[in-house]
Subunit: 332 residues, 2 copies
Amino acid sequence: MREVATRAGVSAKTVSRVINNETNVNEATRARVRAAVTDLGYVLDAAAANLARVRRTSRSIALLISSVDNPFSAQLFRGVETVATHRGVMVFAASTEEDPAIEDRLISAFASRFVDGFIITPTAQDHRHIASLIGARVPVVYVDRTPAGIGADVVTSNNRESARTATAHLIRHGHTRIGLMTDHTSLETAEERRQGYVDALAANGLVQDPALMELGVATRTDAEAAATRLLDLPAPPTAIFAARNIASIGLVQVLRARGLSQTMAVVGLDDVGLSDLLDPPLTVMAQDAVAIGTLAAERLFARLDGDDTPPDRYVVPASLIERGSGELPVPR
Amino acid sequence: MREVATRAGVSAKTVSRVINNETNVNEATRARVRAAVTDLGYVLDAAAANLARVRRTSRSIALLISSVDNPFSAQLFRGVETVATHRGVMVFAASTEEDPAIEDRLISAFASRFVDGFIITPTAQDHRHIASLIGARVPVVYVDRTPAGIGADVVTSNNRESARTATAHLIRHGHTRIGLMTDHTSLETAEERRQGYVDALAANGLVQDPALMELGVATRTDAEAAATRLLDLPAPPTAIFAARNIASIGLVQVLRARGLSQTMAVVGLDDVGLSDLLDPPLTVMAQDAVAIGTLAAERLFARLDGDDTPPDRYVVPASLIERGSGELPVPR
DNA sequence: TTGAAAGCGCTAACAC
DNA sequence: GTGTTAGCGCTTTCAA
């Protein structure tokens, strides 16, 4: 900046004024400074600028998502971005790949005034690092999952209720042997979905059969294996609730291969891309990831605006989209 | 930090040493400082710390994509991230929404935050001004599209060749009336695809019929409208090359609705999510977005490592995935 | 093993 | 309309 000032024949302060589009600068001076900036390839140092400012704000927030090629994360991003952009705030996104080490590194990288706030899909069980963020008075909103013992706002989908609704929908269509495919129940969302499934069975007087519950479905390959196991049971289910998008995909794949698409009732979770073009079109409980992102961003900005009410939990409902696969009757 | 120093009865420098886990600190002193840090809830100000440090490198790069919920962008992100993470470098992504103004703002925001380099899907036609936004010493690699008048590495898909291959594939299966659905040809990629389509027709002695070329397909709705127009032609095509993922989706939708899925041959571009589960499964020219991202990141790191050879263009080939829809014969 | 002084690049407050 | 001085919170010499 000093170099720019020298070249333009002004003081550093005047350069600062031009850079920040302040008024009270002579047009000729402004032009000279601009020229010097361009000539020298000068770029403002945001860290230093922020350090010097009284009200230290970067007008940017960080978003930590699990993975960029997860449609849920993408929708979340979209929701957050909409709200932030509306307020002239940038969103910097990075993915944790569900790895606590990466998550920590990202948080450190963004930390301490680099961004004004965080929206985090928590990966680590133990969220000690939050302490340092809170210590620095940087607000955090968690999304999708609830980290243990943390005093911060949390916005999640209504997983248990969604699973209950999905399962009840299948029961309403006459099914009594209903398979479940979900992730490892060490994941909060997966455990909640399992509970919702069990709730619905119990509420309808159905017994739970452990053989019908596939709990380790984390990849499409897992999903295909799980689907195969379910179909090969001595008494296979007549309907399956696939409580992850990846699970529905693997399941549909296997059903197609076996020519069972028109026979096995299926409800998926998360509205994956071409669900409506499948045959039959896939009935899903659609999580409103955009709404989750929107709400999370709104909470974050409320905190940034000084809201110091106690942290709260916000639950965004999912909605059942009936398309065909979930309304298939019990065969025969 | 000064408070901590006072409380621990040491100087600021010693606090700094403890915070940064430097050696050469008496264990007793270290413990006293630690205690003071805890008592006061002190948190290091990363911005100030970084400002003071001599060698300022953020070990992070910025990635500007068109939109987060575009699968191509997501794959690109994935490719970039893989290479970057491998080198312990963080990737911050943001989406331009194809808006040059947003693009400019993002670039400035990232540049002032000391990202070490940029990977950009250019939105603006003319990218000369970008140089000044970024600053002289920060390398840039462009992806997917070639900005005008810029001396920087560019990594793109082989759009013209892909379109040629896709169209030739349909011709090889006997089709002579082949529809084209692509974006506005003001977009470089769309124009290249149109050219490839024309190339293939010409190479096989087929005449181009403007009525068969739908050039403004930017949304799913556009795609449905375009598909409808093609089907309603007096002499409709027997095959269609949908040169955008969104175009294939709209097209498949319309074909399904009209019961023409098994009749109309279709080749898509971009391997969208559930393409292989459609009926018939969708034949596509799969752009290797991950490879584009990987290559772009490798080029960027090469530049960061001091490679100062002249900027070059890198073209990543796409590959034809035959799944069924593209191999349907001419009816009767 | 520890501390003092200087300064990173910028903006605030106030002068002129 | 523009410049001066001070200082943001930290790390770097370099000295003790």
